[in-house]
């Protein structure tokens, strides 16, 4: 049997939205002695197993309606 179709939705904060978590990671990396670290942004990845033939439009609707809050977040979809 073929592996189920998968989509990956990557959710990131929009540019210009302060990311306190990214800031904390940045400062911790610097504390560990890693030089040259600029702006750090944290996001999340959501992996979906989907019925074959599910359209990109459907996944986009999922992202808009639930997976991302488009007031503050952008999303990117990767699927076959």
């Amino acid at each position: 049997m073929a592996a189920p179709m998968k989509a990956t939705v990557t959710v990131t904060l929009k540019n210009g939205v302060l990311d306190p978590q990214g800031r904390a990671i940045e400062s911790a990396l610097k504390g560990l002695g890693f030089d040259g670290v600029g702006d750090v942004r944290a996001g999340k990845i959501i992996e979906l197993e989907l019925a074959d033939g599910t359209s990109r439009e459907t996944v986009e609707a999922m992202a808009r309606q639930l997976l991302a809050n488009t007031v503050i977040e952008n999303f990117r979809i990767e699927m076959p």
């Binding site: 939205v17 302060l18 306190p20 978590q21 904390a24 309606q65 639930l66 997976l67 809050n69 007031v71 503050i72």
Partner: protein, 221 residues
Amino acid sequence: MKSAVIVFPGSNCDRDLADAITKVTGIAPTLVWHAETSLPDRLDFIGIPGGFSYGDYLRSGAMAARSPVMQAVVQAAGEGRAVLGVCNGFQVLTETGLLPGALMRNAGLNFVCRDVRLEVANSQSIFTSRYATGETVTIPVAHHDGNYFADAETLARLEGEGRVAFRYAESVNGSAHDIAGILNDAGNVLGMMPHPERLIEDAQGGTDGRRMFEAVQAALG
């Protein structure tokens, strides 16, 4: 005044809110479970309580905003029923789109749990009429995601239309324009991070929250 308090899995201020409503109005609200698809008939007032609905999974308030009962709440708000969202309830209201903007992780990353001073920015609403504009009140906050964000256009609209109800009078969480609570455009929906239901009687250390429920009762009968 006929009221209801919505209960999600992970709500933890639902009983406090119900208790506050009961103590001030003399009539206990109906507690409505998140899986219900309708609300009791002829409600005047709906409370969305604080807590950690659905474990704050995905984003604070995100799952609760898509629960069956919230469709009924959105409809009721559209019909002009008064809706108050406190803390997680405010997060739920922004996630449903009843209120603009979003509540993000506190700028200092810390969970903030203490009494804070608030400035009443608009006393011309059914929720705030027992306060005076410019008055400072002290009400506790307890949240991790209270950092209010909205784009510049939305902030300008909120300010221009007098829809900022409360502002922090001290540094709390990094909120844009120090916003602690906002109204919808019709004025029948208020979301706020501080917990007025925790200050109803002297035994709780003050009564600055009680006036909100008195105002609602006076407006709605």
